[in-house]
């Protein structure tokens, strides 16, 4: 479904991605893990078009995305849940979700999607009218994921949903992701620093280090590979 083919990205003389190739089949759950600064977020931004690659191609269902402007890509079924949540702070929770449903598909499925999102995260229903900027970090993450789901995506991209959250909240978020996976059968691409949480529920994983894929494989293979720990902790 999604094919990233030898993508290079450099900004301001800084080489963020150095020939990354990743394949994601329809319905797959693929995790990309790696320490901070490995280029995970840049990879996501390249897929959603906010950053342009200097070399390489990104294909979605065989279609080259290079010339598709960023704002068009969600309409092709890509939902990007960005790092640091990035909710609309001065919009209410409900309005945030509505903005997620800006795509044609999202508008069509709005009622069903909203019901699903609020079933997944009941707290969002309680806080419908609250400004998103006043929510706690965990709740904002739920809004961000909900906003992604509201677009009825075929590919859901989650960028470090655990960042800055307390451990119990992180568990809750990952459980929700697993639930989405069970219920929706959509393709999920997850970027995480926390390798275990990310890898244990995925079909396949990639380990990114300083802009390169250094390991790839099924989750069992990766989880038992001590090289991951080395990648993170250096020794």
């Amino acid at each position: 479904m999604l094919e990233i083919d030898g993508v290079h990205v450099a900004y301001g003389g800084l080489r963020a991605l150095d020939g990354v190739s990743i394949k994601v089949g329809a319905g797959d759950f693929v995790s990309i893990v790696g320490p901070n600064g490995a280029g995970k977020t840049t990879l996501f931004k390249t897929i959603s078009g906010v950053v342009s690659p200097s070399k390489g191609r990104i294909l979605l269902n065989g279609k080259d995305l290079t010339s598709v402007p960023a704002a068009e890509r969600p309409h092709l079924g890509i939902a990007h849940v960005p790092e640091g949540r990035q909710v609309f702070p001065n919009l209410t929770v409900l309005e945030n979700l509505e903005m997620g449903a800006w795509t044609e598909a999202g508008r069509r499925d709005w009622v069903a999607n909203l019901a699903y999102i609020e079933k997944l995260f009941p707290v969002l229903q309680e806080r419908r009218r609250q400004l998103a900027g006043t929510l706690s970090g965990g709740q904002q993450q739920m809004v961000a994921i909900g906003r992604g789901l509201a677009s009825s995506p075929r590919l859901l991209m989650l960028d470090e949903p655990s960042m800055g959250l307390a451990p119990t909240i992180v568990d809750q978020i990952f459980e929700a992701i697993a639930e989405i996976r069970r219920d929706k059968r959509i393709t999920i691409l997850l970027v995480e620093q926390r390798a275990v949480e990310a890898l244990q529920s995925c079909d396949r994983g990639y380990v990114l280090e300083t802009g390169r894929v250094v390991l790839e494989g099924t989750h069992d293979a990766l989880l038992s590979d001590d090289r991951i720990r080395k990648a993170y902790l250096g020794m």
């Binding site: 704002a71 960005p82 609309f88 509505e98 903005m99 677009s151």
Partner: protein, 320 residues
């Protein structure tokens, strides 16, 4: 009449005048507030766009015959309202060909150069509009003449026999229309999908892009709406206030004061900011010489900026 009653009457009269003026100022400020709120652009041309709106209204009323078609009173209001769509198109074109060259997602995040560029570009647009207006429209002040501007409603007597206030009809109607437009706009940005997308684009342009919202398009739309709203306010002012092509500069200051008072970035706040400016301006005449009523605005403005920089209704303007 006792001195107290005279004082009371003066106060009530100034209050009424302030509310009437403030309502119109509020509408102007909302126009500017949308543009600033969504695009983070300081548009120096806003006053001159309003001037253009006044002339559009003037010609719709006179040359194009709305005045004779609908009668002077209804015609003047219709002219002001039709000015909105006309100036919307103008604003969209202005954004498409000039403003978008120095604003937008990329520029908004840049300090320094991008900042200078939009300042001087809108200053240039302001100069072209006001001086071009002089060439096109001449320097003789004109106004839209209706019977309303020279007649008034008398409210009262409110206390005793003598205390009553006079409400200029043209200003009264202008207030009502501007309230209606402001409420309409409020409903649009809080209820309509497109209106909400404008606020989303303002709040976090990058996240808006991830939603599939075309932020540049949103900016264009906001610029058009902001232009249209201020122009409608101009059309309403034109029914009681003689104007010439340099009139913009008188109002752009008021607009900026109002928008900052209400809180940079808050569209609703902008209306109340404008209202406060109107009230301060009129109430100041009770205690200060008439010439200093504008100084009072600036003093209040500076006080607010120093004591409560986020404005009275402000959301935090610095996007982290």
């Amino acid at each position: 009449m006792s001195p107290f009653l005279i004082g009371l009457e003066n106060f009530l009269q100034a209050l009424t005048a302030g509310l009437l003026l403030g309502g119109i100022y509020g509408l102007m400020c909302v126009g500017l507030g949308i543009i600033f709120g969504v695009m983070r652009v300081i548009n120096f041309g806003q006053g001159d766009l309003m001037m253009l709106g006044m002339y559009v209204s003037f010609y719709l009323f006179g040359t194009l015959g709305l005045g004779s078609l609908l009668g002077a009173d209804a015609g003047s209001i219709a002219a002001a309202l039709i000015t909105g769509p006309v100036m919307f198109v103008f604003g969209v074109l202005l954004h498409r060909f000039l403003i978008s060259r120095v604003t937008g997602v990329r520029v908004a995040s840049l300090e320094g150069e991008g900042h200078y560029a939009q300042l001087i570009l809108t200053l240039g647009v302001a100069l072209i509009l006001s001086n071009g207006g002089l060439i096109l429209f001449g320097s003789t002040p004109v106004s839209i003449k209706t019977s309303l501007s020279s007649s008034a409603w008398e409210l009262g007597p409110l206390v005793g026999q003598d205390v009553s206030i006079f409400l200029n009809k043209a200003r009264g109607i202008a207030l009502l229309v501007s309230l209606a437009v402001a409420i309409g706009l409020y409903l649009f940005i809080t209820r309509a999908r497109v209106g909400k997308s404008l606020r989303a684009a303002a709040d976090n342009p990058e996240a808006a892009t991830y939603m599939g919202i075309d932020v540049d398009k949103a900016h264009r739309f906001a610029f058009g709406i902001g232009t249209a709203v201020t122009a409608v306010a101009g059309g309403l002012v034109a029914t009681y206030y003689p104007f010439q092509p340099y009139v913009g500069i008188e109002f752009v200051i008021v607009m900026y004061a109002g928008v900052v008072l209400g809180g940079l970035g808050s569209i609703i706040g902008a209306f109340w900011g404008g209202m406060i400016i109107g009230l301060v301006q009129q109430l100041a005449t009770l205690v200060l010489p008439v010439q200093l009523q504008n100084t009072a605005i600036f003093v209040v403005f500076l006080l607010i900026v120093f004591l409560r920089p986020q404005g009275l209704f402000g959301v935090n303007v610095t996007r982290a």
